[in-house]
């Protein structure tokens, strides 16, 4: 929570000719991505939307090195996930807290992995708990918390880790709409302060427009970019007021039409 909003210098992302195949149970491989290209300047908040199974999550996994691409490269400031010293902060839809560790111990993991000096760790955890409105729950275990609070703790662990890049895979997808809106506002508050690069995968088009600088719409498998839309809405944004802006409504509508046009009739 120290850095003021300065121009970001690191966190440039580039996908070059990414091709990913997954073996399917039927025996033949499924082509998830084929020659996928995308460049994201440092500090941009980018949302990725698209139908289920179009490879949105795969992109995050390839970039973070969890999945190997069959062809192409995913680079962070010109280096692969293995080469770069920059910190990648991943957040999943499911909270991935350690069930046997308290709120503060879970957040402490982020600090430990960021090699934060032990002397300041306590203070930093207190700050984060305060910032994420978890005061009074420091010693609670994850199972004693609501879904929204668990994701706050996940976010706390991520912030403690101080990543250069946030990769968020439907982080608020499992929350009820009210909690989701609150978490979105929280994320905006964080991003407006730190200006890190964010790749945010979501199913929720309104969430995508509310949060991001740019929305990428993917086609069904193999995922290619159908629409690359800049969201020129002023910041700081207030999600509640935004909903009434004609420009906002227009963006949401355009994305919807693009997804409808691209999706084959399913289900």
């Amino acid at each position: 929570m120290t850095a003021a909003a300065t121009a970001p210098t690191s966190g440039h992302i580039a996908f070059k000719g990414i091709r990913v195949r997954f073996p399917s149970s039927a025996g033949h491989d499924v082509l998830v991505m084929d020659d996928f290209n995308l460049e994201i300047p440092a500090g941009q908040f980018v949302a990725i939307v698209g139908p289920s199974g179009c490879g949105k999550s795969t992109l995050l996994r390839v970039l973070s090195g969890l999945v190997d691409a069959d062809a192409g490269t995913a680079l962070i400031d010109g280096l692969t996930a293995e080469e770069t010293a920059e910190r990648i902060g991943f957040m999943f839809q499911r909270d991935t807290l350690l069930p046997w560790a308290s709120v503060q111990d879970n957040i402490a993991i982020g600090l430990e992995l960021a090699h934060a000096p032990a002397a300041t760790a306590k203070e930093r955890i207190r700050e984060l708990i305060d910032f994420l409105k978890l005061t009074g729950f420091e010693r609670n275990m994850p199972h004693q918390l609501s879904g929204g609070m668990r994701q706050r703790v996940s976010l706390g662990r991520l912030l403690a880790y101080d990543p250069d890049i946030f990769l968020m895979d439907e982080p608020f997808g499992a929350l009820d709409s009210q909690t989701k809106a609150v978490m979105g506002r929280e994320l905006l508050r964080i991003w407006e302060r730190h200006q890190r690069t964010v790749l945010f995968v979501t199913h929720d088009i309104e969430e995508a427009v509310t949060l991001s600088d740019r929305v990428i719409v993917l086609s069904p498998r193999p995922g290619t970019i159908r629409l690359d839309l800049s969201i020129d809405l002023p910041r700081p944004r207030d999600p509640r007021l935004l909903r009434k802006e004609p420009a906002y409504i227009d963006y949401v509508d355009r994305i919807w039409r693009e997804i409808d046009a691209g999706a084959p009739v399913q289900d």
Partner: protein
């Protein structure tokens, strides 16, 4: 830091106040007393103690054995056999379980044999083990080992298979070194499996030791029971059984204590 928080979250085995806990203890003792009184009465008035023993005589025998030191000698022998078998099974079973979880293919190759050996009634090995390892300590240790080792193999394998992959992935993206991942995620993850294995393993290790003693030995609780039965000394048989029950119950209580202490986070 983790330990402190865990202790705080641990809850008593039964929800409620100390008052209900005391009440529970009293009622449990009362149940035991009722059973003992009925048994005693049956032995005095209904059935010859030659068949069913008699609590007062069993108690007197236990006192006698305790004073002469025989009780401790036999109990210690059996405990040592079961305990060493358990430790050996842990030392061998846990690494095999880990290897099976690490290599899916290797596990697939080994699985039918592991399962076949596991399904075999291993008490049938006792005569062979007596031939191989003699009638002293070692054959009983191996009996206990042969029964218990599978409990650890199967539980560790199964426990590691269920590790939350998202958590592991997350730690990888955060560049957690492997030892850190093992210490912070994998070990705590399989701790409940290990404790559950312990619960099963203690009973099984005792079975192994006792079976070994029944077949061929010169001391131990199993030998004492077998020897008493050979002389139609029913009181002696019951005395041996009481000591066995006490050992098993104490060991179980120990695991229960460990469980409450270490796994408090699981109970809401």
């Amino acid at each position: 830091m983790t330990g402190g928080a865990r202790k705080k979250a641990a809850k008593p085995a039964f929800p409620g106040t100390t008052k209900t806990a005391v009440r529970l203890a009293i009622d449990r003792l009362a149940l035991l007393a009722v059973v003992l009184v009925l048994w005693e009465a049956a032995a005095v008035w209904l059935i010859d103690p030659l068949w069913i023993g008699q609590p007062s005589l069993v108690a007197a025998r236990l006192w006698q054995l305790a004073i002469s030191g025989e009780l401790w000698r036999h109990a210690w022998t059996t405990l040592l056999e079961a305990g060493l078998g358990l430790l050996l099974a842990f030392a061998v079973g846990v690494p095999i379980g880990i290897l099976m979880a690490r290599s899916k293919y290797g596990a697939a190759v080994a699985e039918p044999y592991v399962m076949a050996l596991y399904s075999m009634p291993r008490v049938a090995l006792a005569p062979l083990f007596i031939i191989w390892f003699g009638i002293d300590l070692f054959s009983k240790v191996m009996m206990a080992f042969s029964i218990v080792v599978f409990i650890f193999i199967l539980n560790i394998h199964e426990g590691l298979k269920t590790v939350d992959k998202d958590i592991v992935d997350l730690f990888r993206t955060m560049r957690a070194p492997t030892p850190y991942l093992i210490r912070k995620v994998l070990v705590p993850w399989i701790e409940p499996w290990i404790i559950a294995s312990m619960r099963l393993a203690i009973g099984s290790a005792l079975i192994g030791a006792i079976v070994g003693e029944l077949i061929g030995s010169s001391r131990g609780l199993g030998w004492y029971i077998e020897n008493s039965a050979g002389r139609l000394d029913t009181i002696g048989v019951f005395a041996g059984l009481v000591v066995l029950v006490a050992i098993a119950a104490l060991a179980n209580a120990g695991v229960g204590w460990l469980e409450r202490r270490r796994l408090g986070w699981r109970n809401a």
